[in-house]
């Protein structure tokens, strides 16, 4: 049996299946949802196993994604951390980049560093930008430093020395000595986490890694021992932000790599489903209660970047983390987002959210403000009789009361206002989708929009119309889609190495060598961390972050290299020019430079085909629940046909005005659009662009 659990902010999801020996198909697919149990998140995991009545002794494979890292960061629940730097640079962490995104606020508050100044200590050493050691490190001062840290109650030490990305020798000497002197503390060096330049970003990454290291390690150990106690013979695999999994040992060493594991598995699931149903160009949208997340997959490729921040927004510079993360744009717009009107009588939706408690006004749990969910109820898009899977009877009185103040302010009816709320919410989401598509030079007409999460299906069709995406895909089991993705991911590690090199004939050998070095390193580390399943070999993918000589920002391209390690300079050059023109509308005659070498090492995990949805021969008429009036805004108000999604079968087709309801998914289909189900039960909505 193969099992995946995904610990989210509110719920812990479980998905499991086993494979039919004869057909090779998935024979059982079950899911369970339980409450997340902070701070002992592993409890929730065990609860989910219990709820699904699974016996860990039967597990062949157990994958796990968790928010434990991001939680510890955002709630500042890490340990007391110290930082060692090169002489002259202890304040880099505090000065940060000096920027003030809140341009016209002269009472700005700069984010505080995670390490206080008295715990930031400098050591004598220096490596120059060429990687030459100018001054060997003097480790004799470390004993006193460690003693002082110990007295201060420090539990973790981060080490980040100048230019360690190109030559980590001094840094390695320091951590070896620290680990000898302070075996009880977590000690992390920058070169173990990031080999990219930019000292502030790397220092912060290292400091944050150390800050959460003991917490994450403890958590993983608890999980391992509880699973073992329950009879699990193997070792869990841990979901990483780079859309791959790793072994638990590897995750313990570099826990910051789990920081975005939740969204990563959803994105991976989208890419994987895309391969199965032959939809390789996807715009991915995950709408939850508080936020919507989106990304773009081109030709089946997920974009992985190390340009990642937490707590960054248009007012706050946030904190950079240089770890490979799937590229995501996240905005404060979800089902619980609150609508409000400013002094210029302008209607806004979000980013404040009513969350799960008090939740939307219609929950009747004390929410007094209009949310996106309330507006969807008013418009008939959500069924009043099966609100929250039929578990809650909507409190329409509370809902109306919540609408009153805004209706008065804007002088309009409840329906007009509800349409406005949805339209603004959709606009916000469209903007986020534009950021990952048109703003990067992609034409949405070449893509399908795949939508999941609690609110994905509700809004996806309207968003697709706006963006002119021709098709929407809503996957089967879309509420636990992320956890499903985890069962399919490969063991993966990304190696990103800064080494500026001109792309010319003289450097061919150097370029080959650099990739070769990374490859050997990967092979060694995979062996050491037992990154293996069923003896499959390691496969490699090569990328390079490249730029025009003189520019700063880079474009990532797949680097043309053969299995034997031979490179095609001309092809690499042309690929870069093309990518640059694609992103930025022009190409230049300047020399081209590689800045970062990026190697992806993978061990492929066996991926069975998903189960096909059973065909019983039921007539489509018999899947109709009822008819009701649904307001489709610009498309008018219609009597819509409401279908029971659970009973719809492959091959069936239907048209809007319709709503397809499953216990945790509502797919709203405006007039003119056609829906069909594929063999697996995924919904495909063909968007008719009637506007033009």
């Amino acid at each position: 049996m193969r099992v995946a659990t995904d610990v989210g902010g509110t719920f812990t999801d479980l998905v499991y299946y086993s494979i039919e020996q004869s057909s090779g198909e998935v024979s059982v697919l079950g899911t369970a949802k339980v409450d997340t149990t902070p701070p002992d998140f592993e409890e929730g995991v065990m609860n989910s196993l219990e709820k699904a009545r699974l016996n860990p002794a039967d597990f062949e494979f157990f994958a796990h994604g968790t928010t434990v890292v991001i939680n510890a960061l955002t709630e500042r629940k890490g340990v007391k951390t110290a930082l060692l730097t090169t002489r002259g640079f202890r304040d880099v962490l505090e000065i940060a980049r000096g920027n003030r995104p809140d341009l016209f606020n002269f009472n700005f508050r700069k984010p505080k560093p995670f390490v206080e100044r008295y715990l930031r200590v400098e050591v004598e050493e220096r490596v120059n930008y060429k990687g030459e050691i100018q001054k060997a490190v003097d480790t004799s001062s470390l004993a006193d430093i460690v003693e002082n840290f110990r007295n201060e109650g420090v539990e973790a030490i981060a080490v980040c020395l100048m230019h360690a990305y190109t030559n980590p020798e001094n840094e390695i000497k320091v951590i070896e000595e620290l680990r000898r002197l302070a075996p009880e503390m977590s000690v992390i060096a920058s070169n173990e986490i990031s080999r990219e330049w930019r000292e502030y970003e790397r220092s912060n990454t290292t400091a944050l890694s150390a800050y959460i290291h003991p917490i994450a390690k403890r958590y993983l150990e608890f999980l391992e021992s509880k699973l073992a106690k329950a009879g699990y013979q193997g070792s869990p695999y841990i979901m990483q932000s780079n859309c791959g999994i790793s072994t638990v040992d590897s995750a313990k060493r570099n826990p910051i790599s789990m920081v975005e594991s939740g969204p990563a598995s959803g994105i991976y699931a989208a890419a994987h489903l895309g391969r199965i149903i032959d939809e390789k160009n996807l715009i991915v949208l995950d709408i939850g209660g508080t936020t919507a997340k989106c990304t773009l997959i081109e030709d089946g490729e997920i974009r992985i970047t190390t340009d990642y921040y937490i707590e960054k927004n248009d007012k706050c510079p946030g904190y950079p983390i240089q770890t490979p993360v799937s590229e995501i744009v996240e905005i404060g717009n979800g089902g619980g987002s609150i609508a409000w009107v400013d002094e210029g009588r302008k209607l806004h939706v979000g980013p404040q959210s009513a969350g799960a408690s008090p939740g939307p006004a219609a929950y009747g749990k004390g929410g007094t403000q209009v949310t996106t969910t309330d507006a969807n109820l008013v418009l008939g898009r959500i069924d009043k009789n099966s609100f929250v899977g039929g578990e809650v009877e909507p409190d329409m009185k509370a809902l109306e009361q919540a609408f009153q103040p805004l209706m008065k302010k804007l002088g309009m009816t409840i329906e007009e206002l509800a349409r406005g709320v949805i339209r603004i919410a959709n606009f916000n989401m469209t903007n986020a989708l534009r950021l990952v598509s048109t703003n990067k030079g992609y034409d949405p007409r070449d893509f399908s929009l795949i939508a999941f999460g609690g609110g994905g299906a509700m809004h996806a069709v309207a968003l697709a119309e706006e963006l002119k995406v021709p098709k929407v895909i809503v996957p089967v089991n879309s509420a636990v889609f992320s956890a499903w993705g985890m069962l399919l991911t490969d063991l993966r590690r990304d190696y990103v190495q800064t080494q500026p090199l001109l792309l010319d004939d003289k450097n061919v050998q150097l370029i080959k060598d650099r990739f070769q070095i990374l490859q050997s390193e990967a092979q060694e580390e995979f062996k050491q961390d037992k990154m293996e399943v069923s003896g499959a070999p390691i496969s490699f993918e090569h990328f390079a972050d490249m730029r025009y000589s003189g520019q700063e920002h880079t474009v990532k391209i797949p680097f043309p290299i053969t299995d034997a390690g031979d490179i095609d300079l001309g092809a690499a050059n042309e690929a870069f020019h093309q990518a640059h023109e694609h992103n930025f509308t022009y190409r230049l005659g300047n020399d081209v430079q590689i800045v970062n070498f990026h190697l992806v090492a993978k061990v492929l995990v066996e991926k069975p085909d998903p189960a096909r949805k059973k065909i019983t021969g039921i007539k489509i008429e018999d899947t109709i629940l009822h008819k009701r009036i649904v307001d489709y805004d610009a498309h008018g108000i219609h009597e819509a046909t409401i279908y029971d999604g659970d009973r719809l079968e492959p091959g069936m087709q239907l048209s809007g005005p319709a709503v397809i309801q499953e216990p945790s998914t509502t797919l709203v289909v405006a007039p003119g659009h056609r829906v069909s189900l594929d063999d697996f039960g995924n919904y495909h909505v063909l968007i008719s662009q009637t506007e033009d």
Binding site: A96, Y548, S655, P671
Partner: protein, 565 residues
């Protein structure tokens, strides 16, 4: 299948109008990203010394992309001045204009080059996209085109007054080649030029997309409504402000040529829904390059106005309809041709902080004590050790901000004139220029004490590796100090030291191309901000912690905070 009511957007309701307006505002960010990613110079991609935006056909600012605060709404005045040079029928689809004239709309100094792209729909001019960026090199007497020693504009570089860079889609070769052959780093300069054109075109395309979706009439209506919305939001805030007259004066020590100090004055009147800033009494324009032109003053005053009215909503032309500025011609804040202006930014940030100083006592929740009030532009040129290529390094420096009524000031932040300005990472810096940075730290010079501490300034050490490198640097507050509030101490100075081989130190507030030999050190300090409140009111436990953190010395702890250790 039911009947589809054909709706379209011919008669857009208020929400559709909101969406059109928000789409126009979003243009700013889209162009900003295009610019930052395509630029050739760190001064653009790290310092983000640029701004992008869109105006209506007449030059009213509709939206602007985050860059530096100091470029706020200089974009609209550029469009307005363009009409002094061209009749409407001389402006064609496919034209691209370029200007850097300091004395006209959009002007600051010659290094800041404005690119303007008119947008046409069915032969009607409907809008403009505009950007303004600091080019590393525009020629002139000194590398980097900035000096503290220029005595007129002609020494400061190439001067474009609203020239056509493209004519109906075709690059004007002669202008392109003229630029190429008159700057020191043509590859970089032309790269920046292309980035500017590309960014403007990204915006133009989006506006045309909106027109094709919602119709031209709706778009033009949305533009007007957007401006009215800005005006209304500002009016509401203006009424909440304390009414009356507020005055301040301050000084700028020197003009780089040894003249000074120069006094600067303002009287701010808030009454009847308007704000008047009167700079009468400010010193006459200086012989040296610290002058600000009227358009520079407009932008400085608008920044503070925005800060105290409504910093939340995106800036547009309507936000400033209630602001009046009075300043006689020919002062330090309203210099006329041929006054040199390359260090205008030092005076511009002083003008901004002057208004802030006048209002701070009445607006303690919005305005802290004085900050280091300087861009501290630092320019080092020379030959790269490895390649022997000429390099011109230019970067602003972060410093200390003032404390406010409820908290310590921020340390190591760029000036109020900056904004989304990033320091250049030392690891990139060293690779690019070969100069070794030996220290990038906060310092604990005397100053900024109080119940709440002024934020700390930084100290940065550049070790010269080229045979000879040349330092150009200019800052104010080399002799005066950032002002404290409510009994808080004044902050500390901005200045540069050149530390010679024999250990001798030379101190500069302003200098141009000072030769520094291999192995010698350039050390620059930025000031600590002003403190707030009586230092003796700071809790002892907090003072002990400051001492432990090294933010203050033992001596300061005892003498200023009476800690007794």
């Amino acid at each position: 299948m039911s009947v589809v009511r054909k709706t379209g957007y011919e008669n857009p309701d208020i929400f559709t109008m909101e969406i059109i307006k928000d789409s126009i505002v979003a243009l700013g960010d889209e162009m900003f990203n295009a610019m930052i990613r395509t630029s050739m110079s760190p001064i653009i991609y790290e310092t983000t010394d640029f701004a992008v935006g869109a105006t209506d056909a007449k030059g009213n600012l509709l939206a602007q992309g985050n860059g530096v605060a100091g470029f706020l709404v200089t974009l609209d005045t550029a469009v307005q001045s363009l009409f002094d040079h061209y009749a409407l029928d001389e402006i064609c689809d496919g034209d691209v204009f370029i200007t850097n004239s300091p004395y006209e709309g959009g002007g600051t100094h010659l290094s800041d080059v404005v690119i303007l792209v008119p947008i046409f729909f069915e032969d009607q001019l409907i809008a403009w996209t505009v950007n303004k960026a600091h080019w590393t090199e525009v020629g002139g007497a000194q590398p980097g085109s900035i000096s503290t020693s220029a005595t007129d504009i002609y020494q400061e570089g190439l001067h474009f007054r609203f020239l056509k860079l493209y004519e109906q889609g075709r690059l004007v070769r002669s202008l392109h080649d003229l630029i190429r052959d008159n700057v020191r780093l043509p590859e970089s300069t032309l790269g920046d030029m292309h980035a500017g054109v590309a960014a403007a075109k990204v915006g133009a395309k989006r506006i045309l997309d909106l027109v094709s979706k919602y119709g031209c009439t709706s778009i033009l209506l949305a533009m007007d409504e957007l401006l009215d919305y800005g005006e209304e939001m500002t009016r509401v805030e203006l009424e909440k402000l304390p009414q009356g007259e507020f005055e301040a004066e301050d000084l700028i020590e020197s003009d780089g040529l040894g003249n000074g100090p120069f006094h600067i004055r303002v009287k701010v009147t808030i009454a009847e829904g308007r704000m008047l800033m009167d700079f009468s009494g400010t010193a006459a324009q200086a012989p040296g390059p610290i002058n600000v032109s009227s358009s520079g003053l407009v932008t400085a005053t608008r920044c503070v106005f925005k800060c105290i009215t409504n910093p939340e909503i995106p800036a547009n032309g309507g936000c400033f309809r209630a602001l009046d500025i009075v300043c006689p011609q020919g002062t330090l804040f309203s210099a006329v041709k041929p006054a040199p202006v390359s260090l205008y930014y030092e005076t511009d940030v002083a003008a901004m902080e002057l208004v802030w100083k006048a209002l701070a006592p009445a607006l303690k929740n919005r305005l802290p004590a004085g900050h280091y009030r300087s861009v501290s532009g630092t320019f080092i040129s020379g030959q790269h050790l490895d390649t022997n290529d000429l390099f011109v390094m230019g970067e602003p420096l972060a410093g200390g901000w003032g404390a406010s009524y409820d908290r310590d000031g921020d340390s190591g932040q760029f000036s109020a004139l900056n904004g989304e300005t990033f320091n250049i990472p030392v690891e990139l810096f060293e690779t690019r220029y070969g100069i070794q940075v030996e220290q990038y730290s906060l310092h604990n010079a005397d100053g900024g004490g109080g119940e709440y501490l002024g934020g700390k300034g930084v100290v940065i050490d550049y070790r010269v590796t080229a045979e000879t490198a040349y330092l150009t640097y200019g800052a104010t507050r080399g002799e005066s100090r950032p002002w404290g509030m409510e009994g808080g101490q004044n902050g500390s100075h901005n200045y540069a030291l050149v530390i010679r081989e024999d250990g001798k130190e030379e101190r500069y507030n302003m200098c141009t191309t000072v030769p520094v030999k291999r192995g010698e050190l350039i050390r620059i300090f930025t000031g600590t901000g002003g403190g707030y409140g009586d230092p003796l009111k700071r809790p002892r436990q907090q003072v002990s912690m400051d001492l432990k953190n090294g933010y203050i010395t033992t001596e300061q702890a005892n003498q200023q905070f009476n800690l007794g250790v």
